[in-house]
């Protein structure tokens, strides 16, 4: 299911929008319109550097109705596995890249009566598209955006003066009054949070404490796959062996070896890449948000996009 036809795009413009954050505009190389998309969708950008291939998911942040260009914002990860560093250092105006069709794992719930958007740092990007869509459908919303400082907060200037937008700056000791916000919403409100893991955990916990139904709380995080010790993977069906480097994900190592492994979100959220573990000499290090605690203990499945092993794993591939 990860083989939806991809598109060749060219970087038409790029600019620095905050410390360590750049915005990129992609236009289609073939001149054919890009598909409209639903807000919250991401594309997977494929970057090739020599024989290395990086694939990172980035939220589409422009208007969902614009078919002449897509926009993404990229935070340069402090310990980049290659992707965000490539985007920041190698990609220039005119660079050609490959993008997937839009995939939405963080959609607006159409039946919601009101939409409460909670952003932290680079987690603002899907909400920029959501705000366009909510405005177009006339749906009530509020955005609460936490950032370290105006210099660190992407699109601070653009958002600062907009109605319905509340900005909180750490350098001014401002903090999102989450309990107060969540405690005073009309029935039928849906909550969306995108940001660092700590912020997501805090939001989910606060929502539970304030009595929010689980079905009304939605989150997305594009945490990079955590690095770890190098390990070896044996493929049971093909009999091949693949080495996974310290700063490489299992999925990336499989792809580099030419294995057509399934994926969608590349962030441990959707479960599309779950692969059966035939045997493991060593431990499994699960970093996904799909498997239950019990399934993690059983060790029969692994999310190749974010999880790792130690020693040697044999996979049903």
């Amino acid at each position: 299911m990860s083989a939806a036809p991809s598109r060749q795009v060219e970087v038409a413009a790029l600019e620095r929008v905050a410390n360590r954050v750049k915005r990129f505009e992609f236009v289609p190389c073939d001149g054919q319109p890009l598909p409209v998309f639903s807000a919250g969708a991401h594309v997977v950008v494929t970057m090739r550097e020599g024989d290395r291939v990086f694939r990172n998911p980035y939220s589409l942040m422009g208007s969902p109705f614009s078919t002449d260009r897509y926009q993404i914002s990229v935070l340069r990860a402090p310990e980049s596995r290659g992707g965000s560093a490539f985007m920041h250092e190698k990609v220039k105006e005119g660079t050609k890249l490959e993008i997937s069709q839009p995939v939405n794992l963080f959609p607006i719930v159409g039946t919601g009566r009101k939409h409460l958007l909670i952003a932290g740092g680079i987690g603002i990007t899907p909400f920029l598209a959501m705000m366009e869509q909510l405005k177009a459908t006339g749906s009530p919303f509020e955005l609460h955006y936490g950032m370290r400082s105006a210099e660190e907060g992407a699109y601070f200037e653009r958002l600062n003066s907009l109605p319905g937008v509340h900005i909180y700056r750490e350098d001014r000791s401002e903090r999102i009054p989450l309990a107060e916000i969540l405690g005073n919403q009309p029935l039928g409100t849906h909550l969306y949070v995108c940001g660092p893991q700590g912020m997501i955990d805090w939001t989910l916990k606060t929502a539970a404490q304030e009595g929010w139904p689980e079905d009304n709380v939605h989150y997305e995080h594009f945490a990079a796959p955590p690095p770890g010790e190098p390990f070896l993977v044996k493929l049971a069906k093909s009999g091949r062996e693949v080495k996974v480097g310290a700063h490489q994900s299992l999925l990336e190592a499989l792809e580099q070896a030419g294995v057509d492994a399934p994926y969608l979100c590349r962030g441990g959220a959707c479960g599309q890449c779950l692969t059966r573990v035939v045997s493991a000499e060593g431990a499994l290090i699960h970093n996904d948000h799909v498997l239950t605690d019990e399934e993690m203990r059983e060790g029969k499945l692994i999310a190749t996009c974010v999880s790792r092993g130690t020693g040697c794993l044999t996979l049903d591939l």
């Binding site: 939806a4 409209v36 639903s38 159409g110 459908t137």
Partner: protein, 351 residues
């Protein structure tokens, strides 16, 4: 020129009262016969909805065939008698526009002699020659069309449609049109989720089929539609075998005799297509019914052999679920005369 071609291509026939529906020899040949082996096996059999051979039902994303004009006339009759056959919950308006766009662009691209779509930004101009329709409207503004967008375009497109909203890790049947359905009711199912509307299907739940199918559908991506074939049987070539009109057609199932099997009994195959819609993130589910008389089926010897063997191995609970119990034995016995025991080719029998 176009007019003449149009009038000869589309048949003038009925799916009710005098039941004049019949297939041309070409139409019999392209019938999507859903069995790939000589015994019945339940299978979800989903495959990518990619273009098939020229002339096949898979040639284009949306198949328009010789029954189009009469089919649409039958739909209009059903809708006039029962407006609840088309429904859309308020949050589905974006998905309705997605549906209109998908169907119009597919039809215009596949059949330029019949349909034309001119787009200038949001100003759209649609021409449907076989039905004599021409409208200019503003995409996104439902007030500029004579019906809501889904109803407008599905009154001009063969097949029933359901639009499934994707939320809470489930799919919800929140809009649709059903006038040619095999005994299910949109009015009953509207607002239900995937597990709820499949609840009556026997056996498949225990096999975990619906859990796997739902997981697959939730991961469906824009640009990668899929399809599957489903089948049942219908007495008389009636498109509208709905629960709402059961009193009109249910009794026909007791009317089958060895003498009239060939004309009365029809294999009914649904070509089901599934598309991820771009703006709404909803899934469009199309259910296009094809009918084939037993008399038409037996003009193809391998089809006749195979269908006889399918009916001989069909579990009774599935015959019951499909509503075949009253006439499955007499049909199987009639087909026996066309089954000489010879082997059939492996795999699907149609291109």
């Amino acid at each position: 020129m176009t007019k003449m071609f149009t009038s000869t291509m589309f048949k003038d026939e009925t799916f009710r009262d005098d039941y004049t529906f019949a297939n041309s020899p070409e139409s019999i040949k392209r019938f999507p016969f859903p069995f790939w082996e000589d015994q019945y096996n339940y299978s979800v059999n989903i495959e990518p909805h990619v273009p098939g051979p020229k002339g096949s039902v898979y040639e284009f994303p949306i198949d328009i065939d010789e029954h189009y004009v009469s089919d649409m006339r039958d739909r209009a009759i059903v809708l006039k008698e029962d407006p609840l056959r088309v429904q859309a919950l308020p949050h589905m308006m974006t998905a309705q526009w997605d549906t209109l766009e998908l169907l119009m662009t597919s039809m215009a691209e596949a059949y330029p002699e019949h349909f034309t779509l001119n787009r200038n930004g949001d100003d759209w101009h649609w021409i449907n020659r076989p039905l004599g329709i021409e409208d200019r409207f503003r995409f996104g503004d439902a007030a500029t069309l004579p019906y809501e967008p889904m109803e407008y375009i599905t009154r001009q497109c063969q097949g029933d449609f359901a639009i499934l909203d994707h939320r809470d890790n489930n799919l919800w049947m929140d809009a649709g049109i059903a006038t040619s359905q095999a005994d299910w009711s949109l009015d009953f199912d509207i607002g239900m989720n995937f597990m709820e509307w499949h609840a009556p299907v026997p056996m498949a739940h225990d096999m975990g089929i619906f859990d796997r199918a739902l997981k697959f559908l939730l991961a469906m991506q824009y640009g990668s539609p899929v399809r599957r074939l489903n089948w049942t049987m219908t007495i008389n070539p009636r498109l509208d075998t709905s629960p709402e009109n059961y009193h009109k057609w249910g009794k026909d199932r007791a009317s089958v005799t060895p003498e009239n099997v060939g004309d009365k009994v029809h294999l009914r195959v649904e070509l089901q297509g599934l598309w991820r819609l771009p703006r709404s993130n909803a899934i469009l589910f199309s259910i296009r019914a094809y009918l084939l008389k037993m008399r038409e089926l037996v003009t193809m010897p391998d089809h006749a052999r195979r269908f006889h063997r399918i009916l001989s191995t069909l579990p009774p609970e599935l015959a019951e679920y499909k509503g075949l119990t009253r006439y499955v034995d007499v049909t199987r016995d009639w087909l026996a005369q066309y089954d000489d025991g010879e082997p059939t080719p492996k795999g699907f029998l149609f291109k």
